[in-house]
Amino acid sequence: MQFARFPGITLALVAAIAMIGCGKKEEPKPQAAAPAPAAAPAAPAPKPEVTVKLGHVAPMTGPQAHLGKDNENGAKLAVEELNAQGIEIGGAKVKFELMGEDDQADPKQGTIVAQKLVDAKVNGVIGHLNSGTTIPASKLYSDAGIPQISGSATNPKYTLQGFKTAFRVMANDVQQGKVLGEFATKQGVKTVAVIDDRTAYGQGLADEFQKAATAAGLKVVANEYTNDKATDFKAILTKIKSKKPDMVFYGGMDAQGGPLAKQMKELGLKAKFLGGDGVCTPEFMKLGGPATEGHYCSLPGVPLEKLAKGPAFQEKFKAKFNADIQLYAPYVYDAVMVMADAMKRANSVDSAKFLPEVGKTAYDGVTAKIEFDEKGDLKGGAISIYQYKEGKLSYVETLGGGGVTEAVKDAAQATGEAAKAVAGAAADAAKDATKAAAGAVKEAAEATKAAVEKK
């Protein structure tokens, strides 16, 4: 008897909760279904307004919450700027709206959130932050035909699934690990110890580094591991010290990297420290203090200061959020801009219509000149090496993805583009194209120089 009754209550409850959900969900819907933008161009006086919803997903709770917030800030800044510009697409004034969601860096939550965004009929998705959540979620976006641009998921698998909707504006782990390996060799290092934090990111990066390093003739004298919640690294560092490596490579994030560098110093381990983008942050230097002095890390792209829009972006960010950029905010900012740019070029905010344009992006972003290859990965994938000096990241050099020939080719291409841009600027001598062109020329010159130096 009870058998019959109690499940009844339970299920009725589920249904009720589900319906409450429906009730609440109903309000934003009309907006989503709002006027098809392809409609009548140049409508009379009161212009129709279209709301473009962009989903943004990152962990907002948990150990990586500080990075999640940073990402969201980057996206917020981009959206506000776009709205201030008053862009018109398909004859309608466009209002961008950001739907920020928390996936707690948990793959299961990642798919639930992804489904929520798909249901809300977002026009595009920025994120997720972690590869672990980005990969399962990308399937949902792909099925729904929603373009997804991640500013931070670096696992190569993300773009290897054959989804047309998956893009990233950041070099992947393979590209980065390889460059780091080359850099280590160039430093005259003979032996290296590799530590990773057993996360998808840390392990992926460390593996790629190790491959490149061994290929270049470096000897890996120790493989040690920690986890992404650890605070004490003394046991593994003591062991590493007994192997006397010239360099310690760490694949992982700043929250562990900083204390790790500090404990290296306390134990009198004199090896150089090298890490990827996860430790190339102000947070790392804050946590590591003076112990970070002289160590190296890498970031995809070319340094912000070197790029035309970089310093301005830093100032804007600081003014708006009263916080320093942690890590991926500029990449996420670019991801939003690339999305908006594709909409502009397609003259439509309809996902299906502007998706092909995302692939054809050639956008001069804050972090890099953004172009995608056929997989959706960032083309070229230049990586810059930085050294921590007096609490600041000081630029060392930029290494291209594929050796000298490619660098030269890149340089040639960049020069060509610069020329084109100059021509363009001459043709319609109106906008700030001149500035971009000048930047491109500078870039080209630099790239050529780098290529020559490499030889």
Binding site: H66, E224, E283
Partner: protein, 307 residues
Amino acid sequence: MDTFLQQIINGLVQGAIYALVALGYTMVYGIMGLINFAHGEVVMLGTLIAITSITFLIKAGIAVPLAALIGISLSVLACMALGWSLERIAYRPLRHAPRLTPLITAIGMSIVLQNLAMMIWGRNYMIFPPLIEKTQFEVAGASFTNVQVIIVTVAALAMGGLLWLVYRTRLGMAMRATAQNPAVAGLMGVNANRVIASAFVIGSALGAVAGVMVGSYYEIAHYQMGFMLGLKAFTAAVLGGIGNLAGAMAGGVLLGLIEALGAGYIGDLTGGFLGSHYQDIFAFIVLIFVLMFRPSGLFGEKTGDRA
């Protein structure tokens, strides 16, 4: 040899930290037979409160030692209040409830405290201000700092103090009586409510001290730091025999040593198969073995046959 010595030092200090936190678990468990799952969060709050107040005081121009003293006292007082309210809100009303019920409220409180801390202190990692000048010593090729010495000393003092409290004072006698049988203790004029509350308050004060130690050792703090620490300390307490003060201390130190030596040597002994990626489970494996042969931990008294 210097590597071995260094690993012993690493393990000892890490173990002393586990032990300090484990004492808080054991204090409560010894009297009520209850796992205070939220104890790790008390430690976390102790650290964060100490950071905020000490940083504020130093900025206000107060000398570092004085600022540290005030900050630590503030953090201890705040945690005592927290421990007291935890007991009132989450545990006392459930004293006669099924045994697992307080476990769930503890988990609930732990989630609440973590999220409150996140709302107050934000999501970023915080720097613990240096309280004393760090000096480094070298003995036979192994290095250690004065901070490490202080941590080990404080842990030993805390255990000694607690032993004295439990076995040499009236309150301690009341505690032991309540642990044996609260009803009979009540008949003998022991106010069980007050005794249990005081166990929580003392345990939480210790938690705050542990928090300050952890903070000044690693020099960082974060709203999620309590969880892993609590878990490890709980393991340590069980390893030593939960409810037994000396056992908590021994369990903590043992756990620290197992982790350090495990990470340092097992990898080489097994040809790299069981490297430091298995660091976190060496302790559990040892724990399972110990409990197979001594089901109440190393120093635990044999519990009765009630679950």
